[in-house]
Symmetry: C2
Subunit: 584 residues, 2 copies
């Protein structure tokens, strides 16, 4: 019997001090997780139960599409990462260690190198293809600023899968299988979600989709259109075009702009519009410095810049380093007169048409005005490196783009031959020739799902777990433990329900209000309450979000009770409930 009095679920009344979003607060207060170190969590019994239920749904959907479960090591030898080039490229997010013999290992942030190395001498023939393998295991990413609880942790649980093919068509089919499996997972989880086109980032490859759980305070921004276009902010494009301005080119001048640093400052000081400013940003990557230019009223999209230059190590230059290397503060950097060996200048399409623009003067407290492309400075590459904005025309149909917030829980990638070529993973094709595997990879954030769901499904009283992953489906609450008639009946009902449902018995010697609050905080879909009405032989049955309980007679038999419980649990849908109150 699962008795609350002996169940390790320490709930808290107070809001912990380092939480920034509701899901983090509720998971801590509800006794689901506890922080051990920054971005490192322990899952208490309630959290572990939900995690295991999520894992099972994910595992079942993987098995349905014929993916086979394996378990790869967390500690991975450096050699395979050196071979792929990611030992250095992955950056400081990779946690590294040495063993007692001084050999280098990483705590795997992902497993492309590992899986490719495993199969490369064992999958030899096209006859064995396609094949896909998955695992559910811990991953490590040393985030510079872990936050939002399990949503951005340094140690987290992922389902990662990898597929191997001898044709693009075969990859396409498996990619579709995973796409559908991920949608099935989200449907079974019972949340509102969107599938969006995504950037491939450090994983690489040439096509990717993200699976986003919608949430008001989600960390991802999605741009979408009723025509069916959905993309992350990193990936989103628009049909916006930029005309060449119809102005005479004036003489370039350097002007004094003391203490004028931000784009707004510059526009105000020079009495200009932000559209005239050519914003200049310095990035440092594998091959040195990159100067990126973009119109003053737009934001640069680093994912697009990284993708364009095929360099995932590109990061915004640190102010001190820029000062030291370029002899001027970041606020006064500009493309006119900038000098640096191997400096690459990338221009966003938005600057192509600017006439008589404004840029940094490459000297403290100065800016150039009347700056013109090709006369005063040159650009090595023009490309779209811009973040789109709400209202811009959809790249597919031209209608205004809309914006939403979400939390990424899954991502699928077409990798192509990136890893198989670097790690020499070849098979023999039907024609007898040796070819690199065509690969796909498919990640699902298992522990992240826990946070994402709470972020979408909660109200002022606590969490509202979908039935499929609720830690318990029903809690039985006698309003007093001092009345033997209530306690006896409660235990009888517990035994009646326990084989069919996941039931908790709140046998604590506490007030009914205290018990109700905990049940609401924890988010148990249904309460069966034994209270005053028991003198008339009635118990109360109530869904988490219902205002009024249904009274059920149990004097003669429990049939009616079982029927009501079954019916109500089948109807239970916190997503629909929350959407309805949002509209009120």
């Amino acid at each position: 019997m699962m008795r609350m009095s002996k169940y390790y679920a320490p709930t808290l009344k107070e809001v912990p001090n380092d939480v920034e979003i509701k899901s983090h607060e509720l998971l801590i207060r509800g006794g689901f997780i506890r922080k051990t170190a920054s971005g490192v969590y322990t899952y208490l019994p309630l959290g572990t139960k939900v995690l295991k239920k999520i894992e099972n749904i994910v595992r079942e959907e993987m098995e349905k599409i014929g993916s086979q479960e394996i378990l790869m090591p967390i500690i991975q030898p450096a050699e395979i990462w050196q071979q792929s080039g990611r030992w250095d490229d992955y950056g400081p997010e990779m946690m590294k260690l040495k063993d007692r013999h001084n050999r280098d290992f990483t705590l795997g942030p992902t497993h492309e190198e590992m899986i490719t190395t495993i199969v490369k001498n064992e999958l030899r023939s096209y006859k064995q293809l396609p094949i896909s393998l998955f695992q559910i295991a811990n991953k490590y990413r040393d985030e510079i600023r872990p936050r939002f609880g399990v949503l951005r942790a340094r140690e987290f649980i992922m389902k990662d899968a990898y597929s191997f093919h001898n044709s693009e068509e075969s990859l396409d089919e498996t990619y579709e299988d995973f796409y559908r499996a991920y949608e099935n997972i989200l449907k079974r989880l019972g949340v509102d979600y969107r599938v969006v086109e995504a950037d491939t980032g450090a994983i690489g490859g040439n096509k990717s989709h993200e699976f986003q759980v919608l949430a008001e305070y989600g960390e991802s921004t999605i741009y979408y259109c009723d025509c069916g276009y959905y993309a992350t902010d990193e990936k989103a494009e628009s049909k916006l075009t930029f005309e060449v301005e119809n102005e005479e080119e004036k003489e370039i001048k350097k002007v004094s702009t003391p203490d004028v640093k931000t784009i707004d400052d510059v526009a105000n000081f020079l009495n200009s519009s932000k559209e005239k400013i050519i914003k200049s940003l310095l990035f440092k990557g594998r091959d040195g410095w990159v100067l990126a230019l973009i119109r003053g009223d737009y934001d640069l999209n680093i994912a697009k810049l990284r993708g364009l230059l095929k360099d995932q190590t590109l990061e915004m230059g640190a102010p001190e380093e820029i000062k030291a290397e370029f002899g001027v503060e970041t606020g006064f950097i500009g493309p006119v007169g900038i000098k640096k060996d191997n400096l690459k200048i990338v221009g966003d399409l938005s600057i192509k048409g600017i006439k008589n623009g404004i840029t940094g003067g490459m000297e403290k407290d100065t800016h150039y005005v009347n700056v013109n492309l090709n006369r005063d400075f040159n650009v090595d590459i023009f490309a779209d490196i811009r973040m789109v904005k709400k209202g811009e025309p959809c790249p597919k149909c031209g209608k205004p783009l809309k914006e939403a917030k979400g939390i990424e829980v899954g991502q699928v990638f077409k990798l192509g031959t990136k890893y198989s070529e670097k790690l020499n993973a070849y098979y023999t094709d039907e024609d007898g020739r040796s070819k690199p595997f065509i690969m796909g990879c498919y990640g699902w954030g298992v522990s992240r799902t826990l946070g994402a769901i709470v972020e979408q499904l909660h109200d002022d009283y606590g969490m509202l777990w979908p039935r499929s992953i609720a830690p318990f489906e029903i809690v039985i609450i006698p309003v007093s433990m001092k009345k033997p008639e209530l306690v006896e009946k409660a235990e009888e009902i517990y035994n009646l329900l326990k084989d069919k449902y996941d039931v908790l018995y709140d046998d604590r010697d506490a007030s009914p209000g205290f018990k109700f609050k905990d049940a609401d905080l924890i988010g148990i879909p249904m309460k069966v309450v034994l209270g005053k009405k028991m003198k008339d032989g009635k118990v109360e049955v109530k869904l988490r979000y219902e205002k009024n309980a249904e009274e059920v007679e149990i004097t003669e038999s429990f049939d009616k009770l079982l029927e009501i419980i079954d019916k109500k649990l089948k109807e239970y849908d916190p997503k629909i409930y929350l959407n309805s109150i949002d509209k009120e």
Copy 2:
């Protein structure tokens, strides 16, 4: 449909070159595991399936005794280990790393510090006790010489549980619960096992039992007696006593013993018996050097020495270091004239009675003869620091001890207040006083179980999995894939069996002999073969270890087939079969 042609189970004909024991060989050859680095393995689909089945049995038995599942981090902050004193004490087996902010972490080799830290501010009252929490997760121990495949790996899966109590009686009850749960696990796994008294080692505490799977080449030695006494070699004691020899003390003499180093050499050269030699061994620990003395014909028991001195860091001194620190090679070390600050001399009881003994001369190529205790040297502590030998009198009943080999899969410990005191984990007792938790801890080697079972249950053809954890229970083998009547019937039988059993369909275009060999190697309990007899409407059903198949008519209906399969699988017991052939 689980088709062997698409199942990732790469079997090998050749014996891999670095294997020392049969289980390691078979798990590699059968395609269950692959080595990634020394002591670091990937579990392929077959291995993962068995692991998950073992995990489920372990989890169910934990839940039956009311233990609650949690999930603690693998990366643990150094601070809690510094507080318990084990950050330094644990030694080089502990894998350590630094995060990007230079903070120290360890990859947890065990979780006593972690669990104690988690509960210490949340379990406050005796009313919440007893409670036990368990997890199933990876552990890390940087073994100096990883070997035997998953039996001595550096990354491995463990179920670890921890219990908290307010009385010794309560700890005793929970200890008994785990003891019985562990026996249930072993019974469900279907192996021969023994429960033995064990040393508490680096975990500490005051009582411990190990659960050993018996195996001819097991790495643990067990001493036991028909009276019911069972102990590991580290823990075993005997009733053997040592009389003081009835000899006159002769004058001590230093004699030349050129190139005489081993105990056998010394005995031969000096024409003495080994019983006269006082073997001198130097150990280094937390508090400096320890000289341990034991009779020449016995082996020193380092676990007893560590327990005696309460110093788990004690290790045998390295020859070069001994040479440098004591000015003489290890072979000539002895208690007479040895000098070192803080040197502690521990004598085994076996040397107490030696008159006119022989020891190293503390000078190259010399020994002392006619050495006598208290006259020529002194001992700080006398204690039993000896390994017992087969045939010595049982410490309980005096009958001769027997010896067996086993592989440890589980261990239970009574920890007492060791960790709660060091980590300030207190609760408020019924009397209102604050007291440290009394704790127990309970480990089960999940991945180790895989190796232990194969080590016990295999024959010349491969593995013999117990049905409860077999990767598949039945394999359906058509002897040819070119005959549609066999293939059709095979698929019909597959669909008939798949909901009731875990079935594999060997649809590979290969010879029947090839398929039979793989099925035997992988250890599938039952084969259903569609071959020549199909012309008479008969399939063959055969258990893994049966010489002759049973022919079953399937023309009219499958009822008989289902009946035979059910009956045979219920009878299947590889343990009984292997014990019977051992006796032949």
